[in-house]
Each structure stands twice: as structure tokens, then as C-alpha cells.
Symmetry: D2
Subunit: 330 residues, 4 copies
């Protein structure tokens, strides 16, 4: 049984706390949030108490923390939790600024605490199976990874303004997938994009439709396509093409039902958004984190993965800004 | 919050107790089973105590029971629970003998207690959606219901010997689906079958491959196909054809991953068996039962449904035995 | 090069003549039809002349005939063509009366001429592949064959009146498929059906919705479902389930295009009717017939197949009329 | 009836001649090829004669020509045929050098003859339907076109050496598709690629795996992926994503058959290569060309389309060579 504190009582914090509450190996002792009503509500729903950051970190029974606060607070919390010797699960991105992010990572390393990054998609059963098939040699050597990731509808403009831009906020997940599935680091990034969905996103200095093209040292290619709007649900697909085959994952639906009539055959839209699409992934990643906290050897995305994905996002942003491909700095 | 006793600590009882334990509106107070170690194990896993049947039924706090014991004990338990004024959820079939089953149903009626039958498939999201599409008029008037139901592998011969035969043990689920989706009672049943899978099933006096053909008064048709063996998983499909369209539900799989190579395109087998395939259905049906216990108007298969499906199974068995179609007795 | 006469300038005769005209190994010399304008039109379209039955059969160059006239004229034409020593391709059914059909078959046998029956579906690439997979052992031993065959819309009442009924006119194709795929003769037939589509069909003494259940001596089962109406195109599907697997053929569509929008994913209806669905099959069967005429060893459905399928249709009609299963007479 | 001469008796010329021979509105009078045996063989197969270029062009009955010779001879033949007043169907690319290609186009314009380019994919029923759906507003405004085009196996090194490179030889088809489906000209091209399949292709100065990213003035994006090797057949897919939906075309297969066994569900590979995949498209494009020759208003890719696609290929090659995105010159 691991005793934890959950920082952040928003949408993601609520998912994490719910999964921890249902996990027989976890005991959520504290919920911490600057917004007291949110903290109380979430704490009540999972049998925890409300605490300040310091009280939560000072409790010796608490051996692990989950950080799901706003991005700009991640690094400070990582530093504090690391200093208190806690194992840390932190949402992506670590920080919008890679220098700041590195500070947090360094602190965690100095204190020798585990730091896991919430790249939940690695734990999605379909994407995990893609990885397994690649590792089993089903596709031969990987030549092209194609990732489609489309949100159902654009976020509010105020969210966009603080998001760090589509590459750091949204495509960062796909950069992590790309690295994981290519099995090799991208060395050059070219990105392009447009404001096609929502003018207020453009006014906030961001784009809402983006593509990126990555290439590794050995010549493997990756294309990523993002949109902030998708009429038919949350479109999350990956296709990996290799020398001897292909492996791909389609969207998930609520049922397996189809209908037919004089206009054709019909089936339902993709699951609406990440809460539904990645429900299993969220559950599995925290379960793995708990097992890792208890000393088990578990495959989890760590601090280096968090920094690498952020670096690719920075390169993509620079490529968009300059109109030129960007070499990834080592 | 409803306080319950669970009777039966076997495979199905364990599923039900697990779902109740995870349901915030349920409190499993007792597990009852003649096999004490099983009862203790299950009770421990869901925070309940072990009790005798009488102690469990005498506890006034217990307002509902779940009966998942061996079929031959269902009626006695229904009678006792009804006499004690408990709302009853009973696994299918009520009894292998329809006369005995009727006695239980009558007792429940006399005591005015709710009696719900565990036709879990009605709560499967895909099959529920088929029903919704029919009710919404998507297929027009229903003309043909086709049900495919194949187990992954045959049960042990000793199970078969006590099962009441494939029609009462396995196809009874499909008879319930047929009635539900046809929206009308079958009036004639023709059944046929063979021993193609396992000779020991034939030696036990049963068959392992069966088909049934039902017809309603208005002329709607239904075909059902069962097998006790299926190489590609638990094959559970329904197709409803009507005057203006079709609605169908395919199998569920663990992931949405497909591969391609020089031999073609490949996707994974169906979920292995009912525990996986109907996990949602098991959870939803108990949740609905709890809501009904608390006075909510909920659509649940009741005693009459249990008797009707059993009657169709009896007709099918008679048809197989006599080689002739059997008119359903009113 | 084989020189042929085509009897019948209706819908099917036109398909056959067109395929022969495009076949470099065939020369259609005559078109014969009691309706002179039809004969002339078809003859002109394929570079043939119009002739009387006798003139066509007396031409020594003509070594093969294609019979696509109305069913009641098949046997007389078979007898005449056989007497003239021609190889014969005859549309199904040979005759609505099995005694009459046998006379034609006997005459063909006496004259030692080839008699091929137009069970076009055996030449459909998808169904041929199903057969190949069965023969290759993909499904193990065949346990259940399921055939769905639905016409897009009901034929005119006058057609129905002369058709011999749904079993001899429509399901006869499926009986041939069943025998071919089961690899074993059905020994008992049970059929049921209703008038659900068009009351005028009922007034003509026929049904428009039918199911049949066949069983072989070894216990293999087959279910067939027919409807005279289908909103989503010509529904032609076969599924063969066996001890180690399944093989199935879905419908064909005009394109591989799908769309998605906020209401879901959509694909197009099945090809409209047999002219489109079995275009390849019609072409291939005549090509095979020509090759057989030229002495090549080719797998083609012959007279015995024509009689057997008709016998199963008779059994199904008798089963419908009597309400009881019918043993197939040897 | 249009009388034609076919230039080129190789693989593509043979396809065109065969389609013309089967078209009742076409009469192939001459086949012209420097390789006399090839010319004779093809001429015999379609009832044509062999002629020299001059004899064929001097025949006043010949009103149209099909040019399917090696690319470096296209422009000269266009000039000669234009001077002779023939309507011209010319295979893609017009020429590897855009200046030379323009000369041919200019000559055709000066003589007022029709010049159609063999972008066969525009006539593929699936891709045509994608275009129709876009035009019908199914996807709203087009935001992202994704094109996957993979050959089954690499061409011989000597072919590669004369091919003009993967962008002018292979991706040129995709550039045409992109322009057609975007409904707007790309203004910037970024391309990347690698030698992953066959080192001899690299030694010939080309690549075998390529991606291109196009952007239009309004901000629509297009990604194209090519490979010279694909284990599961000729992979030809298009997906168009827009503001209100998506339309996509999958691969075609020889049959609709699937199998299932203990390892999963299996279906067959894509059609092997362009001869099979685009059989309908090849037939339809020549039929449309004939109709256009006869004065009908038909939508056909013309000289401007041929030049534009070649220009995009040039830009892609330049982008690959320089490592930078290239603005399309107006």
C-alpha cells in the first residue's frame, strides 16, 4: 500500500485521484489545491483529507505524489517533493520552458527520487500493442510513423494563451509517441500549420492546425497531423510502416453497433475526448507508477523523455516561426 | 445505500460481489456459500462477512439479495428471500424445471418482492443500442433476428450433465435476446443440433452444436446458432433485419490494432469469454437492480421473462427430441 | 474458337451474349427468341444473326448452346440441343418440376453431351475463395454454413406467379451453395417463412421472407435466410464456421470510400443486384464452360447438381406446406 | 467512332490499346513502336496495323493519338501530333524537364488540339467519389489531405536512373491528386526522404522513401508519403479532413473474404499493382478522352495540370536537395 498526495484538483487531478481511490494498492491521504472548494470536493470523493503543500510533503507516510496542477507550478512542486524524498508522477509538459524543466529534473536526480512523466498514451492498450508488434519484428525495420491526433473542439482562448502553443501543449504527446515508436531520436524537425478552426486562437498567437515531419539519423520518417477540431470525435490513430509490414491502431467507439439503410452502412463516432479514449491508459499508468514506487521494474516514461519531447516541441515551434527545418540540438 | 447478501461464491457470484463492492450505492454485508473457504475468500475481498442463509435473511438491514448459487438451489432461495421480504436478483435459469421455477416466481409475487433475472446481455451496451435503434425505427418492422453465440471451448462433462442441456443452459440467453428484440412472442420453435465438438457431451445426453428457428404470430423469423467451441474467441453477434434497414453488433476486441504483411491484414480475436465480453453488462445490470430496489423505474428482465425464456428452451429441447416443430404453449 | 447459339434474349440472355461477345474464344452465331425485336436487338449488339431454333441447331458449326429462355422451355430445348449433339449451358432451375427436369437430364446423358447448370455463384471470386479455404483446411471440419441472400426489391406479382415459389426460384442458388460448401448432402430440410414484404406475393400463393435449416448425415448444419426486399442493396453473404476457424464473404461495393461526420462513419450500400454483384461470376462461368467444351477439365456444376438443388427446393416447399421437417429422398 | 494511333507498345501502351480495343467507340488503326516485334504483337492483339510515326500521323482518318512511349520522346511526339492536328492523350510526366514540357504544351496550344495528361487516378471510382463528396460539401472546407502511395517493390536500378527521381516519376501522381482535392494551388513544398529499401536506388542518386508537405495560400495542408516497397500490396489511400467531416478511400482487394482462427481475423492484401488497382481508371480515362474528342464536355486533366504537377515535383526535388522548403514559382 502506497500513501500519496495528489496536487491539483482539476480535470486531470480528478481522473488520477479516482484511479488511485479504486486501486487497492493506493491510499490517497491528501488532496492539495489552491482552490479550497475543489480540493475539498475531490478529497471527499476519494476518502482523503485536504492539506497544504507543506503538510502533505511533511507527512512521512506519504511516499509518492501526483502533480496535476497548472504547468507553471510543476517545477516548483517537483523540487519540493524531491527534497522531501517523494516519488513523483508529474503531468506533461514538465514546464513550457525547457531550462526550467531541466532544473526540476536535476533536482529530482540529485535527491535520487523517481520522476515519471504523464505521457498517458504509452499505456493505451492499442498503442502498447503497436509497440509490442514493432519489438516483435512484425513490421521489420520502422520506415514511417504516421500519427493523427485531432481534438473534438478547440479549447477556450484563455487556455490557448497560457498553453505554450499547439506543439508544447498538444503535439508533445505525439512527439513522445514518435520517439517511442521510431526507437530512435529524431534529428531534424519541420513543422507547418495554419489557423483554420478558430480565429481567436490565431489572435492568441497560436495555430490550430499543424503538421510536423521528423527524420531520424538512420532516415526513418514520421509525420504528425494535429487539429483542434474534429467532427467525428477524438481522432487518435497511429500507423507504423516498415520493411516487412504495417501495424496500426484505429479509434475506439462506445459500442460495436452498425446500421444499414438505403443510404449505406453507418457506425458511430470515435469516443468523445481523452477522458473516455484514454480511461484505460490513465488507470494503467498510475498502477505502473505504484508498482515502480514499490520497487518493481516497470517501463515508464521518465524525466529524460519529458525533456526530449519538450525539445522536439521547441524545435517544431522554431520551425513554424522561421519557416525552415530545425536540427535537434543534442 | 442498499445492504445486500450475496448467495454463491463461485465464478458468477464473484463477479457480482466485485461489482457491488465498487458501487458506491451498495454495501455487501454477507456472502453465503456452502463452501466455507470460498465464502470467506470472497467476503474478505469485498469487505463483507460470512453468514448462514438464515442469518443473512434475518438481518433487517439487508433489503436485497443476489442469488448466484447452483441452479437447483435457486427456487428455494427465492422462496426464502421472498418470505423475508427481500428484493431478489437471481441468475438465469430460475430452475431447469419450469414448474419449480413457477413456484418460486409465485412466491415472490405473493410477497410482493421484486424478482429480477440475470439476463446480463440485455445490459450490454451494444445490444442495448440495437434495441434502441429498433425502438427508434431505424430498421422499420423487424423481419429477421439472427443470433450467433459460440463459447470458446466446451465445459467439463460433469457440468454438462447437470446443465439441463444446451438450450436451457446456453441458448436460454439467446431466447431472451430473441424475445426482447423481436418485440413479440415466438409461437413456434424448431431446433436441431449435433455432437460435433466433444463426444463426452453426447455421452452426457446433450449436444454441442445447435440451431433454432423461431417464428412469431406476425411472421417475424429468428435464427439462433450455438456452438460449444470457437477458435477465434467468444463469438457473440446479433443482426436484426427489417423492412427499412439492418442493425448489427459485432464482437469486441481488446485493442483496435491491426497488422499487415505479405499474407494480408490481421486483427485480433474476440474477447475470450463472458467475464471479459460482458464485464460492462454485469456491472450495469446490478447498478440498475440497485436503482430499482430504491424505487427508480428501470427496465429490467423480470420473472415473466425468466419463465418465457425457459419455456422456449423446453420447446427447443422437445423439438430436438421429437424432430418436429413445437408450438409454444400459452 | 467455339461457335454458339444463345436461346433467350431477355435479361440473362443479354448478360451471357455480352460475355461471349467479349470472349476471344467464342463466336455467337445466332440469337434465338420468340420475341423477334428482342432477338434482333441482342443479335446486332454481339455481331450475331437471328435464327429459328431449328436453323440454329442444324448448323453443324454450332457446337454449344446457351439456354436462357423462360424456365418452362428449358427441358424441350435441352432435349433438342442434346439430340443435335450440342454442349449445353442451361440456366437454373432446369425445370420447376423435377420429373420433367430429369427427362431433360436423361436425354443429355443418352446423347453424351455436356450439360452445365448456371449456378453462377460458384464462380464468384469471393465464394470460390471460401470454397478454396475450406478445401485448404482453414476452418477444419465444416460445422455450420450460414447464407444470407436478400434481393433489393420484390419482383412483379406476375413473375412470382410463374416462378415456382421462393424456394425454387431464389433459394435454389443457396441450396446449391450449401451443398457445395458443406461438402456433403443435406438429409433433412426444415423451412419456414412469411409474407412480410408484399401482400400480392402472398395472394400469388408464395412467401417473400424465408428461412431454411439443413442438416447433413454427419451432423453439419446450414441456415439460409432469404428476403425479397433489402434497403441497403443486394445482400449476399456467406459464413462458414468449422472446428478450427471461420471463413466469410461480405458484400461488394462500388468504391472503397467512407465518410465521417458528427453522426458517425458511413460507407456505401452493397452493389444493387445480381447483374452488378455477379458480373465477374457470369463472365467466369461462361469462360469455364467454353474451356470445358474444348476438352479442358473444369469444375462446373452439372446436371446432378441441378437436380439436387431442385430436390432441396421441393423439400423446403413441402416443409413450408406441411409445417414439418422433410427427409431428402435419395 | 474515333480512329486512333497508339504510340508505345510497352506495359502502359498495352493497357491503353486493350481498353481501346474493347471500346465500341474506338478503332485502333496503328501501333507505333521502335521495337518492331512489340509493335506487331500489340497490333495483332487489337486488330491494328504497325506503322511508322509519319505514316500514322499522315493518315487523315486518325483523329487522336495515345502517347505511351518513354518519357524523353513525349514532347517530340506531342509536337508532331499537334502539327498533324490530332487530339492527344499523353502519359505522365509530359517530360522530366519542365521547359521541354512547356514547349510541347505550347505547340499543342498553337495548333488548338486537345492535350490530355494520363493522370489515371483522377478516374479511379473511389478517388472520383472523394472529389464528389468534397464538392458536395461533405467535409466542409478542406483542411488536410493525406496521401499514402506505396509501390509493392522497387523498380530496377536502370529504370530509376532514367526516371527523373521519385518525385517526378512516382509522387507526381500524388501531386496531381493533391491539387485536385485541395481545390487550390500549393504555394510551398517541403520534402524529405531516405534510402531505406534498396541501396542501388541511392547509388543511382535517388531515394526510395519520401514524404512531402504542401501548404496552400489559404493554409490547407497536405502530407504525402511514398515508398518503393510495400509488403501487403500496392498501398493507395487518400484521406481528406475538413471542417465538418472526413472522406477517405481504402485499398481494393480481389475478394471480400475474411478468415478467423485462433490467431485472429485475416483478410487479403491490397491488389498487387497499378495494372489491377487502376484497371477501371485506365478504362474510364480513355473512354472520357474519346468522348472529349467527340466534342462532349468532359472533366479531364489537361496540359496545365501536367505542368503544375511537374512543377511541384521539381520543387520537392529542390527541397530535398537543399533541405529547405521551396516556394512554388508562379
Amino acid at each position: 500500500m502506497t500513501t500519496l498526495a495528489v496536487f491539483g484538483a482539476g480535470r486531470i487531478g480528478t481522473i488520477h485521484a479516482g484511479n488511485l481511490a479504486a486501486n487497492p494498492d493506493a491510499d490517497v491521504r491528501y488532496v492539495v489545491d489552491v482552490d479550497e472548494p475543489s480540493a475539498s470536493r475531490l478529497a471527499a470523493s476519494c476518502g482523503a483529507g485536504v492539506a497544504s503543500k507543506d503538510d502533505a510533503l511533511n507527512d512521512k507516510d506519504v511516499t509518492a505524489v501526483v502533480i496535476a496542477t497548472s504547468t507553471d507550478t510543476h517545477t516548483d512542486l517537483i523540487k519540493s517533493a524531491a527534497a522531501a524524498g517523494k516519488a513523483i508522477f508529474c503531468e506533461k509538459p514538465i514546464d513550457l520552458n525547457i531550462g526550467t524543466a531541466r532544473e526540476g529534473v536535476n533536482t529530482a536526480e540529485q535527491h535520487g527520487v523517481q520522476l515519471t512523466i504523464g505521457f498517458n498514451r504509452r499505456h493505451d492498450p492499442s498503442f502498447q500493442k503497436i509497440k509490442d508488434e514493432i519489438d516483435a519484428g512484425t513490421v521489420g525495420s520502422v520506415e514511417h510513423v504516421s500519427i493523427t491526433s485531432r481534438d473534438p473542439s478547440p479549447p477556450p482562448a484563455e487556455y490557448v494563451a497560457r498553453s505554450g502553443g499547439i506543439f508544447r501543449d498538444m503535439m508533445i504527446h505525439d512527439f513522445d509517441m514518435a520517439r517511442w515508436l521510431l526507437g530512435e531520436e529524431p534529428v531534424v524537425v519541420f513543422a507547418s500549420g495554419s489557423v483554420l478552426v478558430d480565429e481567436s486562437i490565431g489572435e492568441a498567437g497560436d495555430i490550430d492546425s499543424a503538421v510536423a515531419l521528423l527524420k531520424t539519423a538512420s532516415g526513418s520518417l514520421c509525420t504528425i497531423s494535429n487539429s483542434r477540431r474534429c467532427s467525428y470525435g477524438y481522432d487518435q490513430r497511429i500507423e507504423v510502416f516498415g520493411s516487412s509490414g504495417m501495424v496500426s491502431a484505429g479509434n475506439k467507439t462506445a459500442t460495436e453497433v452498425g446500421t444499414a439503410d438505403s443510404s449505406g452502412f453507418h457506425s458511430e463516432v470515435a469516443l468523445p475526448f481523452f477522458v473516455e479514449r484514454y480511461a484505460d491508459a490513465y488507470r494503467i499508468q498510475l498502477d505502473k507508477f505504484l508498482r515502480a514506487v514499490n520497487g518493481e521494474q516497470v517501463d515508464l516514461p521518465g524525466a529524460a523523455d519529458g525533456l526530449r519531447a519538450l525539445m522536439l516541441a521547441d524545435c517544431a515551434q522554431e520551425s513554424l516561426d522561421t519557416g525552415a527545418p530545425v536540427a535537434v540540438r543534442e
